[in-house]
Amino acid sequence: MRQKLRWKPWFYCVPALLLIFIVIVFPIAYTGYISLTNMNLYHWTDYGFIGFDNYARALFKFDSGFLAALGTTLVWTVLNMAIQIGLGFFIALGLNAPGLRLKRVYKTLLMVPWAVPAYISILLWRVGMFNTEFGILNKFLAMLGLGKVDFLASNGIAFLSCMALNLWMALPFMISTIDGALQSVDGSLYESATLDGAGFWVRTWSITVPAIRPIIAPAAVMTTFITFKQFDIIYLLTQQRGYMTGATLNTVITYAHQNAFASNNYGLSSAVSMLLFVVIILFSILTNRSLRED
């Protein structure tokens, strides 16, 4: 009887486990398998096992360019997350201010950037905001009598431009998460604190932040990974074929794409992917450990 009970829960989970296996585990395992073969343009169907040769070549690609890209990625992740959480927190607090009218309208409008497909948003910003001839930013500068600025031409300004777009696209998620968390804080705590003479900052720091931290932590971790492996914003704004802007900005993912994925060498690309997978897993373990310590 006990034996029967032991396998039954597993059986109920089989459909979900199968889905997870097909959608998540199998692609990773298959990428691992391809990384051990010479599958490329010249061996499209007749590829064979070549051991760890691709890994040796992939490690060679983790050169100074890769280290610079890793540095950029870390700065990109830290800055984006700090601003997203900080700004998202204060905007959410503002949306929960007592007496604020049309709250629902503001919240709906703030969701719009998140609802627009990323590709569309990026193209809109590239042409509508940053373009030197038609972009709204340059129109404003012209109205002020200032010269044109190419917002994507060099690394510094391109980094800030990409970050502005990333924040525009990512803030709605953070705001809605924090907004949801704020609803769960017991209002009587604020009333007691106010009676004790606590001001806005003391209430925020001593009540709000500790109360919402466990709720927003998973969202923050998830967003950190999305930000870390950011590809489309930097690629589509600065590196797309036929539209290279002059910035040589690279994150680890755009660097890997530039150096391995454009070659149609699936074996090599898979090896680079597997190594990046290991880097992200290590990053994940470190993040989870620090969360547990919190």
Binding site: F11, Y12, V14, P15, L18, L19, I22, N40, L41, Y42, W44, T45, R57, V127, N131, T132, E133, F134, G147, K148, D150, A153, S154, R241, G242, Y243, M244, T245, G246, Q258, N259, A260, A262, S263, N264, N265, L268
Partner: protein
């Protein structure tokens, strides 16, 4: 009872999850591409030939209408299916008998990659290549890899000089130096008005300079030529034009021209529909009439658009494919393409039609063909666009020393080619 229901539901879910992994029998599928004429079927059985493309749907419809009309009695129907990023889709499905199309229609520069992947059938395996006897030799050669014909050329395109007759003052200069002087006198970058715009960091659009100076991007032995002195000379010379040509991306330059903020644009026939829609009275000049300081005319790349046959389609549709290729090679397809879509036909006999001969765009393209060079079609060409454009961007937008940019780009190109292996 509840437990039994739950177990049954779990079992049903398992089957549902796995159902998507099943392989469909092509003969059972309702898709048009999987409706082959079996060899034991009567010869009159209807056959559908599916062709993937990533081009203008109007052009494909013109081809389909003419071919289908010619093959109506044979009950053969050609269906064009537009696929975004078609070359990569074909790389994924090209050897898959169930999902692959029967043919594809695309420019010749990706031909080498498909041949290297061994997904294409030589045309001689399908049809007598004598059907190409009347075709322009440049277009025929562009469809060959290692002397074997894989692509049936249908039409070709190249860059021309398009100008707004209401804005352009005087004649079109006959030298690049005179053109540059005109640009200096008629460009106000601060006000956003330009004499000539061009995608000056795009390798295809800078090819008139590179080829005209005698430089090259990659030769037939797959050796990149980015640090060749003549390529560097061309990139350096292009730099001063780039400084007067706005940002240089496709949308920016075409909008500037269509909105009357640029008097001329270097582009191809694909711009014409937008220009006409904008109501611009435009003129066309051949780039080969504009001479570089070395006396050579500007020599743009030409792209030959044509059709190839997938190996996986041969077994069941060989006869139908032969008839489709023969119809596509006919002068009538070229005449229709020229008259309805402004394309320059690959079949020389199409130019005997008085309407085709009278079309300005087509005669200019035909004239430019005298200096135009077909894009390289070896597999390694696919790895060259990135390094070339990085080099041009570094020179034109970052002010990098051309020689240094060329050395860096050459190294990147050699690495990219090595990575293909």
């Amino acid at each position: 009872m509840k437990k039994v229901t739950a177990l049954l539901l779990a079992l049903a879910l398992c089957f549902a999850v796995l159902a998507g992994c099943s392989q469909s029998d092509p003969q059972d599928s309702g898709a048009p591409s999987s409706n082959p004429s079996q060899s034991n079927n009567p010869p009159t059985a209807p056959v559908t030939i599916t062709i993937w493309h990533d081009g203008d749907e109007g052009i494909m419809q013109t081809i389909a209408d003419q071919v289908n009309a010619q093959l109506a009695a044979d009950q053969i129907t050609v269906v064009f299916e537009k696929k975004t990023d078609m070359p990569n889709q074909l790389k994924l499905y090209g050897s898959d008998a169930v999902n692959a199309p029967d043919m594809y229609f695309y420019a010749h520069d990706v031909l080498g990659s498909f041949v290297a992947m061994d997904i294409l059938a030589p045309l001689s395996d399908v049809v007598d290549t004598g059907i190409l006897a009347d075709h322009l030799s440049m277009t025929v050669e562009a469809g060959q890899i290692g002397g074997t014909q894989y692509l049936l050329p249908v039409y070709f395109e190249t860059l021309v000089f398009l100008y707004n007759k209401a804005l352009w003052e005087g004649d079109i200069p006959d030298t690049t130096e005179a053109l540059y002087d005109y640009m200096v006198a008629h460009t106000d970058t601060a006000a956003g008005t330009y004499a000539v715009v061009n995608q000056h960091t795009n390798a295809y659009n800078v090819s008139p300079f590179i080829n005209g100076f005698g430089g090259y991007i990659i030769d037939e032995t797959a050796k990149p030529g980015l640090n060749d002195p003549k390529t560097i000379e061309a990139a350096t010379y292009n730099q001063k034009f780039g400084a007067l040509q706005a940002d240089g991306d496709y949308n920016t330059v075409t909008t500037l021209f269509n909105e009357g903020k640029a008097a001329a644009i270097i582009g191809g026939p694909w711009l014409v529909s937008g220009i006409e829609a904008a109501g611009i009275d435009y003129g066309i000049a051949s780039l080969s009439d504009i001479k570089l300081p070395n006396g050579n005319g500007l020599a743009p790349f030409s792209g030959i658009q044509g059709a190839g046959v997938l190996k996986v389609a041969l077994a069941e549709k060989k006869d139908a494919l032969a008839k489709v290729l023969t119809a596509m090679a006919s002068p009538e397809v070229g005449v229709d393409l020229a008259n309805k879509s402004g394309c320059a036909p690959a079949n020389n006999k199409s130019y005997d039609d008085p309407q085709v001969a009278a079309k300005e765009m087509i005669t200019i393209i035909q004239k430019t063909a005298s200096t135009a060079q077909p894009m390289p079609n070896i597999p390694e060409m696919g790895s060259m666009w990135g390094p070339v454009e990085t080099m041009l961007t570094a020179i034109n937008k970052n002010g990098t020393d051309p020689a240094q940019a060329a050395v860096d780009a050459q190294a990147a190109a050699e690495q990219a080619i090595a990575d293909m292996q």
